[in-house]
Amino acid sequence: MNIRFLLPIGIFLALVTISAVSMLSMLNGDQASKQLPSPLIGKKAPDLILAPLNTTLSTSQKKSDLKQSVENEPFLVNFFASWCAPCQKEAPFLNKLSNKIPIIGVAYKDRSDELAIFLERFGDPFIKIGFDNDGKTAINWGVYGIPETFLISNEGKIIARHAGEITNEVFNSLFIPSIQEMIR
């Protein structure tokens, strides 16, 4: 048999295998594969110099590095907005989580009055909230959809990222192992 004549069937089989594997992973609903992996994982977290929201719920003009508010412990950075439905959905879980780990909120393209209503209605799990109104911080963090949650190690490195609504399962399966690895 001539090797040249086997080439077509070879290419065909390769193509079919690739498609089949890919389709099967789609069928299994592999969540991780639908997300865009973040290249920032393992790198130092970008700056978080934003206009913070102070307790009286009016924006203070002076920007400050929100990362300073947490020292020597892992924390979460949650990009959210009062207008986003999944953010409302994940709010109860974040409230519960806020007892275990400090969470810094970045309000993406939001208004302080609407944010106040949001926080009143859904609770305020954040130790600090900053406004990212030009979306630049979001770009620096590689955020492509709201909500997105980052886990920062005590050395200031991003060790995990989840795009989309954060749930108990995501936290347990993605973030807790990362923290454990960090401690080790």
């Binding site: 004549f5 077509p8 065909f12 690739i18 498609s19 890919s22 389709m23 789609m26």
Partner: protein, 652 residues
Amino acid sequence: MIVELGHFCLVLAFVLSLSQSVFPIFASNSNFKQLHSITLRMSLLNAFCVALSFMSLIWAFIVSDFSVSLVAEHSHSSKPMIYKISGTWGNHEGSLLMWILILSIFGAGLALTQKTMPISQKSLILGIQGSIGSAFLAFSLFTSNPFKRLSNIPLNGNGLNPVLQDIGLALHPPTLYVGYVGLSLAFSFAVAALLTNSFDKNWARYMRVWVQIAWCALTLGIGLGSWWAYYELGWGGWWFWDPVENASLMPWLAATALLHSVIVVEQREQLKSWTVLLAIIGFSLSLLGTFIVRSGLLTSVHSFASDPTRGLFILGILIISIGPPLILFAIRGPKLKTDGPLVLVSRETALIANNFLLICAAIVVLIGTFYPIALEVATGIKITVGPPYFDATFNPIMGLLLIIIGIGPFMIWRQGLTPKAKHIWTISVGISLLTTFIFIQANTSLSIGALAGISTVTWLGATIICGLVIKVRTLKRNSKSDFWQRLIRLQWGMWVAHFGIVIFLIGALGESVFKNESVARMHIGEEIQIGAEKAKLKSIFTRAGSNYEALVATLYIFDGQDNHIGTLYPEKRIYPVERQTTTEAGIRHELTHDYYAVLGDGNQTDGYTIRLYRKPFVSWIWFGIILMASGAAVSALTKFNNHKKSLKALQS
């Protein structure tokens, strides 16, 4: 009643297809030679049943029978009648049925025509068609049944995606499917040739007509799709290198190669195994296209409701219908090989080069489309292969092909050039250089790629026109009374199609190199500059459509001297049933350029975002495509005529 009748007809068609696919095997291995002619009749009956079934589905859409799940999901009683009808194939199940219908019509077409073909061969080909048909009928009946009924009958349907409520849906899929499915006949010819171990010039002659028909439809279908995207999607582009577009481009490239290689078999009995392989590849790429569109494997702006389970089924069909033929090819292919003598300067060589470049282009598109998936499966790395990649790889290959198009027709079979070929080339190179020089003088900011494009296209256009002129002149000099007869016998199909490419390229180059774009937030009465012209937002009003509300902008276009030269009406439509908005571009076609306006968000106080384009020669893209398709049609028609004439001559 009618719906259930349609359902039964579909089942009947399935059983008929199954028997149609086994009869020829019985027939060749037994004494029941009559089974061959039964297979022929069966394919007619099959087409009749599927047609009846398809009609009854259309009927269900027309009368809005919401007891049919498909109608309830994709139609609405308030929809205009034309979109009720075209909505029949605006969804997975309905379009699959249309696919099957066209497949069976092609089968019936073969059974009715080409009477000179040996009946055993014909029935074998129809048998292979039948087996493809039964696979797809099983797919339709058992996983995507269009006739599924609801026990809880809703009072009204969900409506149809507004983007699909367009004349484009009525035309584009049927045409494209004729192209896709037409390739199945070439495939069946090829597999039958492998099975019977016979592939000669007659076989090629029979096959070529079908390839031409399929190619013609495929070209038109792709053209219609790109035209639809141009005016409907509202980005002003006509080709996006989107996976779904690539899925239709790949079979087109393979079919184009096949169209040419089959000529070599017909004329010289060379490239036999290659042609067989191309026929198989062509159809498998069209199946692959079906797979990509329906599986959701690749994200695309065009694909409709995708479903991984369906994707796996189509993948299954792909494996069982393409795998065995390729294995058969690996075994039998070498035997088909005929090593005739080959000379560098000959028509054969040009056609081989053509095939080679087309297949290279198809492989590049295939790699570009599948590489991200393969890489992710293998390494987990996610990358994007977008237009820049295809521009950088596909375009140079196509540039080389253009040179072959300019050279090939002036070469003759076996060895040598047509008379005056060298003169023609010299003239056209001269014209091309001159034109390029003028362009450089006029505008220094043109990129190398654009200049290369301009010079190649002028050169190609010049060779074709000079070549034709010289051909006609020599014909006139050499012939006396029979000039017109001989004139008709020129290969007009080829010349028209090749000239279509030139027209197409002028459009494509004009659009990509010289287009103008302006975007602004405009209040009523404000003006915006576009090229040398101005556009003025005259008014914004609302209009009630048949099943939508529209916000319409009136945009007056003025030329440099402030003369009113035309008005654009871009729209934003709101479809209450589907709760969607669509944008309808306002387009004014002129021979040398289009004005194209899109109405964006806005309100009276802040103004409206208006996006305005001036696209030189953009309609030439579709003129060119129509010319290419008519070239193939002319060629196919003359073939059929010749057949008929010689048949008559035989009978008398």
